[in-house]
């Protein structure tokens, strides 16, 4: 009888992390950023039906990169968590902090206890009454949570995109300005190469708009994106 190999816990965790990171790096990036009237979500996604960006509750939305079936699972859980809370208590008692905690616990447990970690990275955003009350939480495959300010970039091509936003992001931009900047950032390539061409039909974009009553989430249609991007190009 052969003796099983000893593998140290550090090695197991490192292997799982590498595995998850590789999976996430294969996907296209999604960015989340603050603008004057709320929070903009924008990512490259040619599909009209399989969303990476979704509404969770009145003032809360969700963006994800990685493996579709895994983040879709988390999205369902988030909507159910939020609707249950809102029904049990009151609509105003549903917070992104509570949701981020529930996600963190779930992702952390999956990472340590199951053989295969989730290959996902998600952002939970909540729009407040004023820009100072906006909240952005970034969650990674192992359940770590970070509260971010200004913008979050997730996915394979995150560094060049974050590089553009670091220089140019301005939370007082209006919606048109924010969308234009988002598309410019998404088009950035590593090593400051020639930017790629991104068509409005290949984009998925949505906002949490604090000026809307009750449900603040709204998708930006391809027509709307064409208008915004067309105006900024000319």
């Amino acid at each position: 009888m052969s003796t099983p190999f000893y593998v140290s816990p550090e090695q197991i965790m490192r292997d799982k992390s590498d595995y998850a990171r590789k999976g996430i790096a294969r996907g296209r990036s999604v960015l989340v950023m603050a603008y004057a009237d709320g929070i903009l979500f924008c990512g490259e996604n040619p599909s009209r039906a399989l969303h990476k960006i979704s509404e969770i509750y009145d003032r809360i939305a969700f963006a994800a990169v990685g493996k579709y079936n895994e983040f879709e699972n988390l999205r369902l859980a988030g909507v159910r968590y939020a609707d249950l809370r809102g029904y049990q208590y009151d609509r105003s008692d549903v917070t992104s902090r509570g949701l981020a905690n529930a996600y963190a616990q779930t992702l952390g447990t999956i990472f340590t206890e199951s053989g295969k970690p989730y290959e996902v990275e998600i952002t939970v955003a909540e729009v407040g009454d004023s820009p100072a009350d906006d909240q952005l939480y970034r969650l990674t495959y192992d359940g770590s949570v970070a509260e971010e300010h200004g913008f979050v970039v997730m996915g394979g091509n995150a560094d060049p995109i974050a590089g553009v936003l670091k220089n140019e992001h301005d939370p007082t931009l209006d919606l048109d300005g924010a969308v234009t900047l988002a598309v410019k950032a998404l088009a950035a390539t590593p090593d400051a190469g020639e930017p790629r061409q991104i068509l409005p039909t290949g984009l998925e974009a949505a906002v949490l708009d604090r000026t809307r009553a009750r449900r603040t989430f709204k998708r930006l249609t391809a027509d709307r994106l064409t208008t915004i991007l067309g105006a900024s190009a000319s």
Binding site: A49, H51, S54, E55, I56, N73, L74, L76, A77, V79, R80, Y81, D83, L84, R85, G86, Y87, Q88, G98, A102, Q105, T106, G108, T109, I110, E113
Partner: protein, 278 residues
Amino acid sequence: MAEDLGLHGRLPAHYTAAGTSSFSDFLSAAAPDLLPSRRPLPAGATVDAPHGTTIVAVTHGVGGSAGVIMAGDRRATMGNIIAQRDIEKVFPADEYSCVGIAGTAGLAIEMVRLFQVELEHYEKLEGNVLSLEGKANRLTAMIRGNLQMAMQGLAVVPLFAGYDLDRGLGRIFSYDVTGGRYEEHSFHSVGSGSMFARGALKKRYNDGLDEAAAVKLAVDALYDAADDDSATGGPDLTRRIFPVVMTVTADGLRRVPEDEVAAVVEAIVAERMIRPGG
């Protein structure tokens, strides 16, 4: 919410289960004690609770201007007592439908809350809106769940109306206590004053109504209901309490602002000064 987080704080399996987009189905797995139907009265017991009274709905128009309006008086009664004089009994169900309630107010309001979450939950999970028939059927299931309470005197009888985006017209659905669902044409009314309201609607309704005329017709019918039914509240001009009126068209749901309803009510009261019977 510690009870939500199972072993090691992870969200339990039914949160991530695929296959259902119904909030009630999810509740029955995650928190069954929150379902109204899981909290029965002790056998044989009856309680006195506030009752909501009269709701009317009227469809109007064809083509682009088609829609439906719903209006309700503001009174809740408990036996011979007026339990509340400014209760609201017409609620938005979602962007294209509304629901009015008659019967036991507490149970009905809870049912409406669950119904609202049910519709929004489906919309968020599925990414598209339920058909109007689909919404009407969800309400059936909830009323059926309340049958035991209804047999102990706590019936809930809603009226559901909405704009059918596929057919481009306003539609009205009524229910019985067992959850039986019936589509009504042109107009309908439920609650203690419904007999008088329906009589008024029948005499004054015609196919050529526009939205403003339909609003006036509905408020007129409520006035007639209050005239003959002690449980229906008439317009309260001293306290400025007027019926709740909602309109649903292709543009979505809108609650008619109070000053617009006030103007309609004042015109009706002025007419009744000359002809009290309308």
